[in-house]
């Protein structure tokens, strides 16, 4: 073992720049991924005098509030997981395996919630079903209906996270060889049997995986519970936030974060190390005509109706946000008016600028770092490679709330004080969003003949030049999706960011939540529209710069 490590180190040391780079990445991961997490756990297990104590966790048994928060988070996560996966499965099945009209349009519409702030749905829901909601108050005349609570959160999270399930399941269903259906039908199975005995079991690992991903996202979600949870329906992520910003109780916040971390890490571990190996998807690169024969026309159009309904909801929600942004006072005075946009560009311009600066800094750094780590992990052998890979994707499983609390605990004091700076936001985003780039980079790299890079080395290029001149251009599609993901997430992030913003550096998402909190829904809607517009423009710009690869960007897991 040791001898091999030494041997590998000697070989790497022949390329000093590479060695320095590996050491630097390793150090950065320890400081900006592991250290904040460790701080959360240490703080959670600390008595006020600094000694080890379980007192914080005992509160979980004593305080109804905390118990309820844990229960609510789990119940909502489970529910959203089930409903989201059901919708995602139907959409994936209809859009990959049946011949129905408008598939591309529907695909785009179903995906749309992914690139908007994770609580855009919540704002729409307030417009439609809030105290002055269009549906509840104006149309139905209800005065005693409250959208706040579990039903509101679940509704809004299903809207937000069903597209993620769809994206996961799309690959699974598209990958199933259609001749399996033919074979089953051929030996006399009925359509119903073919589905339940062949197709569904084959896609089951993918279904479980999608469920866990949605569960993780739901538990980590911050915006929707904050907007729609209400005081009577506490949840872990928001409760941790309230402990820290409301009562300045870091230890309890850290404890709740720790509780949140456990199911997330467990689900992540199951998803990654167990389910991922059991997916029956084979990519052969051979296009197969995969129109399914196992749904009767009646069933097909019924399922299609579900997908269209979801798409209609998406259109309706965004239309409502747009209308809300253009309406003087929603619920009272529906006169068209640009005052909310004027407000955003006058009062809120600084915030828009800050957000852009953060996103523009985060995107290339995160994108490049992702490709670099993928390159090192796939192509180089050195001691600590496995731990480097693990650390670099660990943040995938860490809820934003936990990461945010970790950063304020870790960088609020010596040796590294970053609180209130631009750096803390950028660093947090870079390391939180780099895993997606790494994973798509690894996937693409594994398909590229290593001899191409060996040829470059053989002709005199060192490892870094090889990466820059050969590897990076070849994995441009993965690079593109890494960039897009980092940008979208940097623009729409809220759960970690809310702990890290300051008077000097504020973000649009945080501002949107503030506006919702102070009842200025119109301004919140206007911010959301501006944000969405920026994301769409950035899509185009990144596509122009990096060139091809737009196709592949959609295959990445958001």
């Amino acid at each position: 073992m040791l001898r091999r490590a030494w041997q590998e180190l000697r070989i790497i040391a022949r390329d000093p720049i590479l060695l320095a780079l590996i050491v630097a990445i390793m150090a950065a991961l320890v400081v900006f991924v592991v250290w904040p997490l460790a701080r959360v756990l240490v703080t959670a297990f600390q008595a006020p005098d600094g000694s080890f104590s379980l007192a914080n966790f005992e509160l979980l048994g004593q305080r109804r509030l905390y118990r309820n928060a844990l229960r609510n988070s789990l119940v909502v996560g489970g529910l959203v997981g089930l409903v989201g996966v059901a919708i995602g499965y139907i959409a994936a099945f209809v859009l990959t395996r049946t011949n129905v009209p408008f598939k591309r349009v529907l695909h785009t519409l179903v995906m749309l919630p992914i690139i908007s702030p994770p609580f855009a749905g919540a704002i729409s829901i307030l417009f439609l079903f809030g105290f002055n909601g269009l549906v509840t108050r104006q149309l139905l005349g209800l005065t005693n209906f409250s959208i706040y609570g579990m039903h509101g959160v679940v509704l809004s999270q299903v809207f937000t996270f069903a597209p993620i399930a769809y994206l996961n399941l799309r690959g699974v269903l598209a990958g199933l060889n259609p001749t399996l259906e033919d074979a089953a039908l051929n030996v006399g199975a009925s359509r119903w049997q073919v589905f339940w005995r062949v197709i569904f079991p084959l896609s089951l690992p993918g279904v479980a995986s999608a469920f866990l991903v949605v569960l993780i996202e739901s538990m980590a979600d911050f915006g929707n519970p904050l907007v729609l949870g209400g005081a009577a329906f506490p949840m872990l992520a928001t409760q941790a936030y309230l402990e820290i910003t409301g009562s300045f109780n870091l230890a309890r916040g850290a404890m709740l974060a720790g509780v949140l971390l456990l199911p997330s890490i467990t689900a992540f571990a199951i998803q990654r190390y167990y389910l991922a190996k059991r997916q029956y998807v084979t990519v052969t690169g051979k296009p197969t005509a995969s129109t399914s024969k196992i749904v009767s026309p009646g069933a097909k159009w019924l399922l299609y109706a579900v997908v269209v309904a979801f798409a209609v909801v998406v259109i309706a929600f965004y239309a409502v946000i747009l209308l809300g942004a253009l309406t003087r006072v929603w619920g009272f005075d529906y006169t068209p008016d640009l005052r909310h946009f004027r407000y955003v560009f006058a009062v809120g311009w600084e915030t828009v600028k800050d957000t852009l600066v953060v996103a523009v800094l985060t995107t290339p750094v995160s994108g490049l770092l992702g490709m670099l780590i993928a390159f090192i992990v796939v192509r180089k052998r050195f001691p600590g490679r496995a731990s480097l890979e693990f650390m670099s994707i660990l943040n995938f499983a860490v809820p934003g709330t936990v990461a945010g609390i970790g950063y304020i605990l870790a960088f609020n004091g010596p040796p590294l004080i970053l609180t209130g700076t631009l750096a803390i936001l950028v660093l947090n985003f870079v390391f939180r969003y780099v895993p997606v780039g790494i994973q798509s980079g690894i996937a693409v790299l594994r398909q590229i003949d290593p001899a191409i890079e060996e040829a470059a080395q053989n002709l005199g290029a060192n490892a870094i030049t090889t990466f820059r001149r050969i590897t990076l251009p070849l994995i441009a599609p993965a690079f593109f999706s890494g960039l897009v993901f980092a940008f979208v997430r940097a623009m729409t992030a809220i759960s970690a960011a809310i702990f890290l913003v300051s008077a000097n550096w504020n973000l649009m998402t945080v501002q949107i939540l503030n506006e919702v909190g102070s009842g200025r829904l119109g301004v919140a809607a206007a911010y959301s529209i501006v944000l969405l517009a920026i994301v769409l423009v950035a899509f185009g710009v990144i596509n122009l710069i990096v060139g091809r690869g737009a196709e592949d960007a959609t295959s990445v897991r958001f």
Binding site: I11, R14, D449, I452, E454, G460, A461, L474
Partner: protein, 368 residues
């Protein structure tokens, strides 16, 4: 003057895959290259020839620096290089898959190495131009690799290497992806270029015909070890082992007893060896008889068996165009393969025909 390339007891071990996970202290290892020593003269083309898994590619990759030797040394001239990274070794390698940079056009592919070495613009243009002309790709300079045929891609890979004027040119089965006709043509082109430029070269192949057609020296490898080093004619005519005789061309192995250094008794006949055998008289030997070196004639009834001939019966006949291939049964011997040239002119012998066989160019091996 030291040899251009010198390998000193070069060895490569891998952890055996089935034991890799158990990780015990006495983990079993697989020896891919087993203490190979070799010297290559300046300007020579040496092939490493052997079946797949014999270690020839691993050996080549250790010379290029892509694999780390477990022990042993590599010298280019008198400079030790096995501790150097691949990008500073001054070798250029033609890969089996060509490994052409798919995002660069032909010109940029060829220019890549020069750019890496900071060669100035005018010199770069000149050298790339010359080399493209040399391999006949001048008109293709702006093409993308995907627009090239297999043979053209091969030439790009070659041009990319020779433009570097490397100390050592390495080839890793470069022709194995081409069809037979093109393979033959490229074989001639590569050899021609290599001789014209005088670049010392190491060429890995599993194709014995390719090896014999191109090499100054052939290194026959088996199971990580060198079986024999020699010129093409030498290894064909005087193989040192059954493995070499069998791998290079076709061979019949006739069990015999050595009478003296030059004569051997096989199936009752006394035959003459083409080269003296070092075994002591009376020893059992295996005599290598090449199918094309056996004189085959229809046996006549009244004929007393001439000295130095075997008699047998044709069992199977195959017409292969340039040759007729017979399987001949001789009492006391395994079935023999006999090839006769130009069968279209001389006619075929039907199965059942009695024949007399006069094997020539015999070479005796100590019987293992």
């Amino acid at each position: 003057m030291p040899a251009d390339l010198r390998l000193e007891k070069l060895r490569k071990e891998y952890a055996s895959p089935e034991n890799a996970s158990s990780g015990g202290p006495e983990r079993a290892t697989v020896v891919a290259v087993d203490d190979v020593s070799l010297e290559v003269e300046k300007g020579a083309l040496v092939t490493l020839l052997g079946p797949s898994g014999c270690g020839k590619t691993t050996l080549l990759r250790m010379i290029a620096g892509f694999e780390e030797p477990t022990s042993g040394r590599v010298y280019f001239g008198d400079r030790r290089v096995d501790e150097l990274a691949p990008n500073v070794r001054d070798t250029a390698m033609v890969f089996q898959s060509y490994a052409i940079f798919p995002h660069l056009n032909v010109y940029e592919n060829v220019a890549f190495g020069l750019r890496m070495h900071g060669v100035g613009k005018s010199e770069l243009t000149e050298r790339v131009g010359q080399v493209l002309e040399l391999v006949g790709l001048t008109t293709m300079a702006k093409r993308a690799p995907s627009q090239l045929s297999g043979g053209q891609q091969q030439r790009v890979a070659l041009a990319r290497c020779i433009v570097m004027q490397p100390k050592l040119l390495l080839f890793d089965e470069p022709l194995s992806n081409l069809d037979a006709k093109l393979r033959e043509q490229m074989r001639v082109e590569i050899r021609d270029l290599q001789q014209r430029l005088g670049i010392t070269s190491v060429y890995v192949t599993h194709d014995q015909i390719e090896a014999m057609a191109m090499s100054d020296v052939v290194v026959v490898m088996n199971a990580g070890r060198v079986e024999q080093v020699g010129g093409p004619r030498e290894i064909y005519a005087r193989p040192v082992s059954r493995f070499v005789a069998d791998f290079i061309g076709d061979a019949n192995f006739l069990p015999g007893v050595l009478l003296d250094a030059r004569t051997v008794r096989i199936a009752g006949a006394t035959l003459t060896l083409a080269d003296p055998c070092q075994e002591r008289p009376g020893a059992n030997v295996a005599v290598v008889a090449r199918p094309e070196a056996m004189n085959l004639a229809r046996a006549t009834d009244q004929d007393e068996r001439a000295a130095g001939t075997l008699s047998g019966t044709v069992r199977r006949t195959a017409f292969l165009g340039t040759i007729a291939r017979y399987m001949v049964e001789v009492e006391g011997l395994p079935d023999l393969q006999v090839d006769v040239a130009s069968p279209a002119e001389t006619g075929l012998l039907a199965p059942g025909t009695h024949v007399s066989l006069a094997p020539g160019a015999l070479h005796a091996l100590a019987d293992a």
